[in-house]
């Protein structure tokens, strides 16, 4: 398949933008990730209670 210079430029530009946005989104997702855990103030919980298993 032969592609023209214009087509190659388009593909490269669109793929480049996609790559930059992909890493930006990944960075933002990592920034906003929630390290969720449950802290219990009460005495020893019964089976499984008060914590994420």
């Amino acid at each position: 398949m032969k592609i023209t210079a214009f087509e190659a430029n388009c593909l490269a530009a669109l793929a480049g933008v996609a790559a930059v946005l992909f890493f930006l989104v990944r960075h933002l997702e990592a920034r906003d990730a929630v390290p969720l855990r449950v802290v219990s103030s009460a005495a020893a919980p019964s089976e499984g209670k008060g914590s994420v298993r």
């Binding site: 032969k2 592609i3 593909l11 669109l14 989104v25 906003d32 990730a33 103030s41 209670k49 298993r53």
Partner: protein, 822 residues
């Protein structure tokens, strides 16, 4: 006259009419402006004709359709003084209505086995107060949709009846991203609804409707029954949708399979069916010893008979208009211009029902066909290059082998599917918050299969009674199995349906313009490169949208969704993260799937950090399984096991999906949401398990100096304990416990301790429990809280920036009279 206008006048006329209707819908100009513009354009047309300037006259004539569109929509919105909707707006309540049933009578069974019946009725007489004997008859007109919970002996199309019930205006959309029943009913000209009371309707006369329509509905019933008899329930429901446009048997779960694979158009009777019908009939008529024109006329008659059969569903009508013009052109020996034919169909539908322009079904089907006409030439196969040494002379090509023919057909199907999917991409993202990239391939598989199914189905209906035709259902079952397994296959593939949320306006315009440019630009030579650019461009736009979403305003938001009687709460955190607390009821209209899932999807939420079940009552936990089904749930929290069915079901679901589980109790804190403290204030070990409501999980979210208190269904015991515990209870927003059920003294002390600025009550209008109780409302008012109810204002959103809280109800106040506005 210009060439473009001469070649396709109807296309330009349809564009002008759509522009007028669109303008009137989005920014309605004053009524006199439309009429003046229309008259001026008509007058101008005549003047220029007299002046012998036909080109200007033709364009003026077309532009007259813009103000005509404005006038049509304005007319649709204006109701005469004796319209039933005025009665519903001015004095909603118990009435008696006389009129004629003009639709099929739809019947369904609730989860508890009760029969529910609904139909559309043209009203002619009205008695306020519901007692016909005591009142004088008032003549009215207009259409209502009636819902009966205690239906009498069979009702049918054409029956003249007197019906008693509660007359109301239809509800509009209640939740962001949710369904709008008012707009949907209005497409059918229905402007009021009536909920039948205990007394069954009285039938005055039978069969007063159009005899042809009555016969068509009779045939439809028989066809439907023959499908029920020959197939398993789910198969029959699918075939009824495919052939007869009858979707009442399709459950939400099954429908979702089609949505997620981008093949929902198969399930709604549409242009496909008309195409299938015409193609099948032409094939069957091939050996018949009659002229081509006679065959085409038979097909045309069959197409309109099909419209009658499926009850004039808009998509079929629009496809029938198109088929009519194509066939008329063939008979008259002229070549139909595709865009002109599309314009004819659009004009037909819009003159018939102008509001169709705002319907997603109308938009999707016209846009897809429009895209195919305009953009398919860009994907035409490249011209054959003469072999070297032949000096450009065509070689005698060998006849293509079966394999070559099959690959050519598959390639053609692929490009058609690709063009249709990319053309409708902005609309599917806007309306369904999804992109389904694999639907290009899914459609390649299921469209031919559904055509075969439709074709075989014709034999089934024709020869249903004959024992020799027994193989037909077997063939259909095999086709259906292939059809469904390909859908399940595509659904399981990663990336089959990606939730993207409702795009920003600017991004939507960018997506549409960019896609059109890539489709049309002559600088692309290679088809795969053009396709790759389309894909990459869409990817860029959706990634940009995802980035914008993360960079958006940082607030703590609580949304109390309107799920009728029940609770469904969504917390969105300023540093990212989502918590869903309850999801409404699951039986009889799964609120998890119908309300919570579309809401989350519209916001582009794919994963939920925590699902919390406050307690296991059906009106709180029933919708949660659908949430697990549609989203990636990262943690699941509940109280202690109460032995209920829903508790075990959700525990099993979480285990099956390997979702980490936690049990919450008084004194716990859920950590990880930056800037927000999420404290658990209830349940306490003090209560026995059977006090289900008092064992509800109570959460207090604190952000800066603001707080939200979510209380599940707690009752007197828990309120008393919480007040006595001296735990910090103060909150700007109190999700009022137990849908506003009656509170006594302990409730008063609790509300005073919370001192809420806003009291959010989640309940349904006219509920059977008397919620909210007047005593509770008094306590809340006395504490200085502003009361916001989901039955009055739809979903309630509360935004906190850490310093103050702003309440944003989704719907206007029900009492404001707004519902009559267009």
């Amino acid at each position: 006259m210009s060439d473009a206008l001469r070649r396709r006048p109807l296309y330009f006329a349809a564009l002008a009419l759509s522009a007028g209707i669109g303008l009137a819908g989005l920014a309605p100009p004053p009524a006199w402006a439309g009429t003046t513009a229309f008259l001026s354009a008509v007058l101008g047309t005549f003047l220029f004709l007299v002046w012998q300037k036909p080109r200007v006259a033709a364009w003026l004539a077309v532009s007259a359709l813009v103000p005509l569109g404005v006038i049509l929509l304005d007319n649709e919105a204006r109701l005469p003084k004796d319209h039933i909707a005025w009665r519903a707006a001015e004095e909603p309540g118990e009435v008696a209505l006389g009129g004629r049933i003009v639709s099929e009578v739809a019947e369904r069974r609730t989860a508890f086995g009760a029969r529910r019946v609904s139909f559309t009725m043209d009203c002619s007489r009205y008695w306020s107060g519901g007692n016909a004997a005591d009142r004088t008859t008032e003549r009215v007109r207009g259409r209502v949709r009636a819902y009966l919970s205690s239906p009498p002996s069979p009702l049918a199309y054409g029956d003249e009846i007197v019906l008693r019930g509660r007359l109301e205006l239809p509800e509009g959309a209640r939740n962001p991203g949710g369904f709008d029943p008012r707009a949907w009913l209005r497409l059918d000209g229905v402007r009021a609804v009536v909920y039948g009371g205990k007394a069954p309707p009285r039938v005055l006369r039978h069969r007063r409707g159009n005899p042809a329509q009555a016969a068509a509905f009779g045939i439809k019933r028989r066809l439907s029954a023959s499908l029920d008899a020959a197939f398993a329930p789910r198969e029959a429901a699918f075939l009824q949708a495919l052939f007869l446009g009858e979707r009442s048997g399709i459950d939400e779960d099954f429908k979702d399979l089609f949505v997620r694979t981008g093949t929902l158009h198969i399930l709604s009777v549409s242009g496909f069916n008309i195409g299938f019908l015409a193609a099948s009939l032409l094939f069957l008529l091939k050996p018949a010893p009659i002229s081509r024109d006679a065959k085409l006329s038979i097909v045309l008659a069959a197409v309109w008979a099909y419209c009658l059969l499926v009850g004039w569903q808009a998509p079929v009508v629009r496809a029938s208009f198109m088929a009519t013009l194509f066939i008329a052109a063939r008979i008259s020996g002229r070549k139909a211009d595709a865009l002109n034919t599309l314009g004819f169909a659009a004009l037909g539908v819009l003159l018939w029902r102008p509001r169709e322009l705002f319907d997603v079904g109308f938009q999707l089907s016209f846009l897809a066909v429009w895209g195919l006409i305009l953009f398919m030439p860009s994907f035409a196969p490249p011209p054959a290059v003469p072999a070297p040494g032949t000096r450009g002379k065509p070689r005698l090509a060998a006849a293509p082998t079966a394999f070559q023919r099959a690959t050519r057909y598959a390639s053609e199907l692929f490009w058609v599917s690709l063009v249709a999917v990319f053309t409708s991409l902005p609309l599917t993202a806007w309306n369904f918050y999804l992109v389904t990239p694999l639907s290009i391939f899914a459609n390649m598989a299921v469209v031919p299969l559904s055509f075969l199914l439709f074709f075989t189905g014709l034999f089934f209906f024709l020869f249903a009674g004959l024992p020799q035709a027994l193989f037909v259902p077997a063939v259909m079952k095999a086709l259906m199995a292939a059809f469904l397994s390909s859908l399940y296959f595509f659904e399981e593939l990663p990336g089959a349906a990606v939730i993207v949320g409702r795009p920003e306006w600017a991004l939507l315009v960018l997506l549409s313009a960019g896609t059109a440019w890539i489709f049309l630009s002559r600088r692309f030579r290679s088809r795969p490169v053009r396709a790759a650019c389309l894909f990459l461009f869409a990817l860029d736009v959706f990634l940009a949208q995802e980035a914008l979403r993360h960079l958006g305003p940082r607030e703590l938001t609580l949304t109390v969704l309107d799920v009728g009687q029940g609770d469904a709460l969504v917390l969105e955190f300023p540093g990212g993260g989502t918590v869903v607390v309850d999801a409404g009821k699951g039986l009889d209209g799964d609120r998890g799937r119908r309300v919570v899932a579309p809401f989350l999807k519209s916001k582009g939420i794919r994963a939920i950090d925590a699902v919390v079940m406050s307690h296991s009552d059906e009106d709180h936990a029933g919708g949660l399984p659908a949430v697990f089904d549609e989203f990636r749930v990262k943690h699941y929290f509940s109280g202690a096991d109460d032995g209920s069915r829903l508790y075990s079901l959700l525990a099993e679901t979480a285990a099956k999906q390997s979702v980490p589980r936690g049990w919450l109790k008084d004194g716990d804190r859920i950590e990880g949401f930056r800037g927000v403290e999420l404290d658990v204030l209830n349940p306490s070990a003090e209560y026995p398990a059977f006090l289900k409501n008092d064992n509800s999980i109570v959460l207090r979210a604190v952000y800066g100096s603001t707080a939200f208190l979510l209380t599940g269904d707690i009752g007197a015991a828990a309120m008393e304990r919480l007040t006595a515990s001296h735990a910090p209870l103060r909150a700007d927003v109190l999700k009022v416990p137990h849908h506003g059920a009656r509170m006594a003294e302990e409730g008063k002390a609790f509300v005073l301790a919370v001192a809420p600025r806003y009291a959010a009550i989640s309940e349904s209008r006219n509920n059977a429990f008397g919620h909210p109780a007047p005593a509770t409302l008094s306590i809340l008012r006395a504490a200085g809280a502003e009361i916001l109810r989901t039955d009055e204002r739809g979903a309630l959103r509360f935004d906190s920036d850490g310093r103050s809280v702003k309440a944003v109800p989704f719907a206007g106040n029900a009492g404001s009279g707004a519902p009559l506005e267009p």
